[in-house]
């Protein structure tokens, strides 16, 4: 009997304000607090872009496109288009937007981040397939471009697959 090492798939860690393109079995990971992890996935092409959105609106503030919801979405669509992925057939999955320290904590932006992402997706007519948002704890998300599964891990809770 021959034993072979398990296949090691490429993984992208999507840091704050970053956008990553993953395809054909590549995996994207991010750790979120009040930020939103937004996945736009094309199932037939097994390709997705994953953004780690920090704030709702740019309003001439400095920063990469992935930092703000209103600039991240157009950039994500542009990246997909550059890679030959059509807009038709795209679906969205959304996670994050926690309020980790209650009302006394630092900047409570999770709800606002979530609300604007949802509104922008509606404006663009991109269907939202699944969401896991809000609450008081952070999330670790792992997106598998082979299956379209978005695994959400939280401290003290069982994992959820969207």
């Amino acid at each position: 009997m021959t034993c072979s090492a398990p296949e090691r798939r490429a993984e992208a860690n999507v840091g704050m304000a970053q956008i990553a393109l993953v395809a054909q079995g590549e995996i994207a990971r991010a750790v979120l607090g009040s930020c939103i992890g937004l996945v736009l996935f094309h199932e037939l092409r097994k390709t997705a872009v994953v953004a780690h959105i920090v704030l709702p609106q740019g309003q001439d503030r400095p920063g990469p496109a992935g930092k703000f919801a209103d600039t991240a979405l157009p950039e994500m669509l542009a990246i997909l288009a550059e890679n030959g992925i059509p807009r038709t057939g795209l679906v969205a999955k959304v996670a994050g937007g926690a309020n980790m320290f209650g009302s006394s904590g630092p900047l409570q932006i999770g709800k606002e981040n979530h609300a604007i992402v949802i509104q922008l997706l509606k404006n663009l007519r991109i269907p939202i397939m699944a969401e896991h948002v809000g609450g008081k704890v952070g999330r670790r998300i792992t997106f598998d471009s082979a299956t379209g599964d978005l695994q959400v891990d939280m401290a003290g809770s069982p994992s959820v697959v969207l």
Binding site: A17, G33, G105, R140
Partner: protein
């Protein structure tokens, strides 16, 4: 950080060294000489690289989070301090403070949480007292908040506030020793843009008066 006004983080080195030294003395008194800390590194990093730079990965950590409040910072919020441990180190600290043996894999009782939160409070108070002396702006910590979560999640939430003003974050890395052995504790100080400017002004004033 304000993208239009870059600065050399080394300018703040003396201030942060002094604050860390002050905090170390307070921690030594609080733990009967068992815990000390020193400033390891102070520099800027792009926002998206901070978690990786701090090697936070996606580990679950036990943390005490305190806000910075006081005069001269709008709305009373001047940033955050985070004292973080892995579970084993957090339990070791709590057990040491409560004078009992470490119980692995037990829940965190209110007393355990209280002991660790008080440690964060003492550390932050000493740290900010020294910055108060150096800046002549009263800075005090908010009530401590106990949290067990992904370290990177907590840091991201804290950095979201700083990201309103720019794309770079000030990293203040601190080394801890427990019974003369380096331990996996971390103290992160994330000043707001406003407090950072206050600190820089104080440094310049101090240099001009020297």
């Amino acid at each position: 950080m304000n993208a239009t006004a870059p600065f050399d983080p080394a300018l703040l080195g003396d201030f942060f060294s002094a604050a860390t030294q002050h905090a170390s003395l307070a921690m030594s008194q609080w733990t009967n000489g068992r815990v000390s800390l020193s400033l390891d590194e102070l520099r800027e990093a792009p926002l998206e690289e901070v978690s990786a730079e701090l090697d936070m990965g996606d580990d679950l950590l036990t943390m005490v989070v305190l806000g910075v409040q006081g005069d001269g910072v709008q709305g009373g919020m001047g940033g955050q301090l985070i004292l973080a441990f892995d579970d084993e180190n957090g339990r070791t600290l709590a057990a040491s403070l409560l004078g009992r043996e470490v119980v692995a894999n037990a829940g965190w009782s209110e007393l355990d949480q209280s002991a660790v939160m008080e440690t964060g409070n003492i550390l932050a108070s000493a740290y900010l007292n020294e910055l108060t002396r150096l800046t002549r702006r009263k800075l005090i910590p908010s009530a401590p908040f106990f949290v067990q979560d992904f370290g990177a999640s907590v840091l991201a939430q804290v950095l979201a506030g700083q990201s309103l003003a720019g794309d770079r974050a000030l990293i203040c890395r601190t080394r801890f020793e427990f019974d003369q052995r380096q331990v996996n504790w971390s103290l992160f100080f994330v000043p707001s843009e406003e407090l950072l400017q206050t600190l820089l002004t104080a440094v310049q004033t101090s240099a001009a008066n020297a």
